[in-house]
Amino acid sequence: MFEWLTQPWPWYVAGPIIGLIIPLLLYMGNKQFGVSSSLRHACAACVPGNISFFQYDWKSEGTWNLVLVLGVFIGGFLGGYVFMNPEPIALSAATITDLQKLGLTNFSGFVPSEVFAWSNLGSVQGIIMMVIGGFLVGFGARYAGGCTSGHAISGISNLQLASLIAVIGFFIGGLIVTHLLYPLIF
């Protein structure tokens, strides 16, 4: 009866639920769905310095967003730890073949444990993927004015040209890393 809690969910269940978060937040308090702003609010709360970008009333503007992110963390704990799916992800055979060519052998869990490990933080690959990668997620999201939730999902839902351009950028960047950089650092 509770298999659905541990089994993976198909796209046609997950996608519409994510889409419904947009009207839900609008109804609850006129809030626009987006996650990366939480990083700005955290900076404004902790290390605003003398930077005008961080001088605003983060408590009234951002508390709801920081609370949402805390919820995402708890949701990840419930979905990925408490009700963890014990099976490896059913990846396409072509992807497994490609990643094996890069040298990956372990396909269990959400991420390759060879790469995303504390012990890999000393390697060039680990620094590029975890430190520089994380930096670019934060820098790029604020530069572009949103991330996957704010641009790809809520922005395009609201027929925003700006968001379509940003998503094209997301793919240009992702394709370069996947097809040009990865063969060099694996």
């Binding site: 796209w11 997950a14 996608g15 994510i18 009207p23 839900l24 937040l25 609008l26 609850m28 996650v35 990366s36 990083l39 900076c43 930077i51 949402l68 992110v69 805390l70 919820g71 995402v72 963390f73 949701g75 990840g76 704990f77 419930l78 979905g79 990925g80 799916n85 992800i89 396409s92 072509a94 992807t95 490609d98 991420v111 933080l121 590029i128 975890m130 990668g133 930096f135 670019l136 997620v137 934060g138 820098f139 790029g140 999201a141 572009a144 004015g145 991330c147 996957t148 939730s149 999902i153 839902s157 609201n158 925003q160 700006a162 968001s163 351009i165 240009i172 960047g173 992702g174 996947t178």
Partner: protein
């Protein structure tokens, strides 16, 4: 106490991201190699449902819970450079970490503790953007 509803929405979002494996580096690789429909299905159907919802809200001038009109301020489309340059840099980060901001927090929640590093790095990236914003082309 007003914020508990946002906590619950976040829990739902994080749970769905996890169950649909959107937080997986492997799934992101599948997407950037165009080898499976899964990620496109999740994002595409989310957009479709969001779009229909927003059209309904606008058409019928629906109000929020407190009876105030729902306003959705548009993104500023007069600036183009920021979206393409910032978007591409974000895409580098998305493919490298295999995660965008929400999945970073869900991955940490799922017990992969090393994701505290990309989260701290993303905070640093946000801070550096704020510090050098005026000298960047927008």
């Amino acid at each position: 106490m007003n914020y508990i509803k946002y906590l619950l929405v976040g829990v739902l979002f994080g749970f769905v991201l996890t169950k649909s494996e959107v937080i997986s580096w492997f799934r992101i690789q599948e997407m950037f190699r165009f080898q499976d429909f899964h990620m496109y299905g999740v994002i595409g159907s989310a957009i479709l449902v969001g779009m229909i919802s927003i059209q309904i809200i606008k058409r019928f001038n629906l109000k929020d819970k407190e009876g105030k009109p729902i306003s959705i301020p548009p993104k500023d489309a007069s600036q183009k450079k920021r979206y393409i340059i910032g978007g591409t840099l974000f895409g580098f980060g998305w493919a490298l970490t295999g995660a965008c901001p929400a999945p970073l927090f869900a991955l940490l929640g799922s017990g992969i503790t090393v994701f505290v590093i990309p989260i701290l790095a993303a905070l640093a990236g946000t801070w550096v953007y704020g510090a050098m914003r005026e000298s960047l082309p927008h």
